[in-house]
Symmetry: C2
Subunit: 567 residues, 2 copies
């Protein structure tokens, strides 16, 4: 089966040149670039006046952050020109272990979006977390045999690297032995500590928030991933990297991006566009988004329009706005005039699907399960801050006699994190301020990184209603006030849905509306803030299934104050 794209202008990512060239494709491979006016083909497309560039590659993404299955994500991001992603299934692995990674591999087989996997390096994120699985080096080893496993994903445990933790070093050694890329994650690390971290074999970083930080990492041999996600947006600070001599060592990534943003702004195309809007060369940005991403991950024959390369090709109306008209993936036209064509979703092994869809293992909850033992001491209350994931420790005197300590007038709400993977009954109970709910409760099965059940409420009854709804449905984001007011179902590991991006966006909108009715402080995205209140690697005080954690000291602390607390 041959396809001829005739009359277009090719973006040559090897040289940065543009040139008029016909492109001949046989099955999934480009077999000719140049003078093929007279070539015989089964399909001939006139692309005169259009630009042709390779399909975009997202060098680092968590599919779970989009809440979509790989197939539904493909429907959203392929029309934006993304034809390959390197996904780190860190979230689902925290819930389902290697079954979660296998699910991601099976659920992404044969899509028009080529899904490569970097194996999650840090499950759980810290030993203080109580996740559904603990993945050792030995657990990861067999997964490297899968042809789409291309690396070890973001090594967040930099203390583990710096202090030669045996299992951390073994994970890196295993990836290196197989010539797989070892991705880094080391925000703000520099100088000798950075050297030591890189010297273990860490080859990339996507956490640079300044050009200075990025240039140090490039000089030390790392690939720098310029990230523009939903929460973390680093492009503006990193614009100097679009100039020589740094541009050749960069790629573009989204990391965590909400489906509404993909739908609205775009995906990798959005980053290219932003670069152009800021005066940078479209071709430089396209090189980052294509051949350089392929080089970073050792993907041969991917990321360029040249003979032997996989025919992932974008037909652009315009180079500077990166307006994607048609998309070819593996030689097949999968987007036609901006519309994604039908494709069959991969079949996932039934038993595996059942496993990831039944990840909740917890008894039904009663209001009394949220009761906090009263004590005549001041309490440590987590304060959330608008627009940030860091929290503060606030010491408060609690009025126990009134609603077991909840005081909506003072914005002191109850917070619960309930272990939900292994029915251990472990739970952390405490208080949170800054959220601003006046009534009802909210609950979620998305709570980084272990994704236990997290609930914030104005009373124990609504907390139980919201929490039980999640347990019943196997994963959910719920708003309750006497009954369930709105919800967004996430039955796959409590993180993802098989529904479409449009559907999830509509449900998300309903949830936001409902939570607004309960009253929320300005600048607070309650579910986003709530999802990170349980992550004990982000300062300064977080709630786990075993109670509060002082993140800076990396140790558990009591809800009740003692003399060592500062006011």
């Amino acid at each position: 089966m041959k396809t001829l794209l005739k009359g277009g202008t090719l973006v040559n990512v090897f040289t940065g040149e543009t040139e008029k060239a016909n492109i001949l494709i046989e099955d999934e491979i480009i077999i000719g670039v140049g003078q093929y006016d007279d070539a015989e083909a089964d399909i001939t497309e006139n692309v005169e006046g259009k630009y042709l560039c390779p399909g975009f590659i997202d060098g680092h993404i968590h599919i779970e952050s989009t809440m979509l299955t790989p197939a539904e994500l493909a429907k959203m991001c392929v029309p934006h020109g993304t034809t390959a992603i390197i996904a780190d299934p860190h979230e689902i692995a925290n819930v389902c272990g290697t079954d979660g990674i296998r699910y991601m591999l099976e659920a992404s087989e044969g899509l028009p979006l080529h899904v490569y996997i970097a194996l999650p390096s840090c499950v759980p994120a810290t030993p203080l977390d109580e996740s559904g699985a603990i993945l050792s080096a030995r657990d990861l080893q067999p997964l490297y045999d899968h042809p789409r496993v291309v690396g070890l994903a973001e090594m967040m445990n930099f203390p583990g690297v710096l202090f030669n933790d045996e299992d951390v070093i073994q994970k890196i050694r295993d990836a290196r032995k197989r010539r797989k890329t070892v991705d880094g994650h080391a925000p703000s690390l520099s100088g000798k500590s950075l050297d030591k971290y890189i010297a273990a074999g860490i080859q990339s970083d996507h956490e640079c928030s300044s050009a200075e930080e990025a240039i140090e990492k490039i000089r030390k041999g790392q690939w720098v991933m310029i990230r523009e996600g939903t929460a973390a947006r680093n492009l503006k600070e990193l614009l100097p990297l679009f100039e020589a001599p740094y541009n050749h060592r960069c790629l573009l990534v989204t990391d965590d991006r909400h489906p509404a943003d993909i739908d609205g702004e775009g995906h990798i195309d959005h980053i290219v566009r932003l670069a152009v809007q800021n005066g940078k060369s479209a071709i430089t940005a396209i090189q980052m988004a294509t051949i350089q991403a392929a080089q970073c991950f050792g993907l041969s024959y991917v990321g360029a329009i040249a003979p032997a390369y996989r025919a992932d090709i974008l037909v652009l109306n315009d180079l500077d706005t990166v307006d994607v008209c048609d998309v070819y993936a593996s030689g097949v036209k999968v987007v036609n005039h901006k519309q994604i064509c039908d494709f069959s979703s991969p079949e996932v092994d039934k038993k595996l699907l059942e496993t990831v869809k039944n990840s909740f293992h917890i008894e039904p909850l009663k209001p009394s399960d949220f009761y906090i033992a009263e004590m005549d001491k001041a309490c440590r209350v987590i304060r959330v801050i608008p627009g940030q994931l860091v929290t503060e420790n606030q010491i408060c005197d609690i009025q126990w006699d009134k609603n077991n300590g909840i005081d909506t007038e003072k914005d002191i709400l109850k917070l619960a994190v309930l272990e939900r993977h292994k029915n251990t009954g472990h739970k952390g109970l405490g208080f949170i301020t800054g959220v601003g709910l006046k009534k009802g409760a909210i609950a979620s099965s998305v709570s980084h990184d272990s994704h236990n059940l997290i609930v914030i409420g104005t009373n124990d009854e609504d907390m139980a209603i919201a929490a039980n709804r999640i347990c019943q449905t196997g994963g959910n984001v719920v708003v309750a006030d006497g009954k369930v007011l709105a919800e967004m179902k996430l039955p796959i590991a409590g993180l993802m849905t098989e529904e479409s991006g449009k559907k999830i966006a509509a449900e998300n909108e309903a949830v936001r509306h409902a939570v607004d009715m309960l009253g929320v402080s300005d600048g607070i995205e309650p579910f986003m803030n709530m999802a990170f209140v349980s992550l004990p690697v982000i300062p300064s005080i977080k709630m786990t299934t075993q109670g509060l954690v002082d993140v800076n000291k990396q140790e558990r602390i009591s809800l009740y104050c003692d003399e060592t607390d500062e006011a």
Copy 2:
């Protein structure tokens, strides 16, 4: 064991910048680059005023062309800054098959010169050749498991690629499956034929003789290897590649280089120097010679001075003359003030060594073995051309009654190619002109690519003396006149010696002197010309063990003319 290089100026091959930086090495790995003035180290070297750059990598070399073992080659080229080579053991494989490749791997284990192997793709070079081994895809497959096997070497059989020869395609498929680099060899191929050749997966080319040819190949995604060997010297024509946007897709190679040239002019350092002398940037050339060669072959952590990288480091007195003072290989100082330090030679398995040292399987020869049956017809005589490997077909009337057709006055000498691998008794006999010997005979066990026994003589007696000397010694280059006048012993597969480069250069000098005494035409390098008279892939007429071959038609032809011959 820690080593600190203090006060030098680093050539950063990622950015092309130079910067003052201390370098801290632990064992074989660079662990720090930057502010390490106060670092504790077992050895501290003051390199103030010096430049530090990564060790050079030769992207394509035939070790056999140097006639040296890997260890002796290391002694010659490491002082010139070459710390890694990608070697194609094509010649020894033609003699000894996979044993030859295994010998090369064992004989290069643990050297200060890191020897990577690309597996020979075309053994024999053509089915018209009678080599010691035929290597199919299946024969090569197990060799990929060796950690230093990084690719499939120059795919010379481009008709095989263009016409989908099953075994040729399988060899490429095997390399691709294992994510190894597939090297090309396609002089002058362009347009649609080039597309088809590249589309099979061929990723590089070292045969470009013009910038135009090279730029087409770069645009089509190939790495272009800029070659400067002994016979083939392409640098001057390819100088435009040292400029953007082409420079980032090039590397530097020697292919075939005589030890006298390595000793006299240099190795990869010579190519860098030549580029600088021609007005190009030393840093650009160094990038080609280091990180880009590593990228071409997917060698991670090699080719740069950065944390995690193997500590292959050159201390240069000067950047523009690339004057190599000291060399570190895997963190060990192996060249000190231009002097190579002692290192132990690898132990080769005794049985394997015996095999490669006993590659001659042929009965002793008598003068009568060189007798040519007289026939009353004109003969096809091979004409050699000064400075070229191509030959011409010259039709001559032979005076049979006088010395069985030899006529030194008319410069018609006898030529014999005798099968020597399997004692088949196959031999090709005929005549050659242009060499100019007046007396005696010369013989060699180096005759591309099958390396049968080749002899040129002014009489049958001296031909037998020279040929028998080679058979006795198991490989040799011999000049004889009544007795052996001079020789250069090549006992390993008839191609290489365990002696030093200095010794082989001296022997080579003696051989040249002796052959000059026999009388040689101007511009003829008799052994070089003779070595290619047997290679039936270079136009236009060649001698094989089964007689003459018309290279253009790729068919055997008779010594005796028929009516189809042109005058």
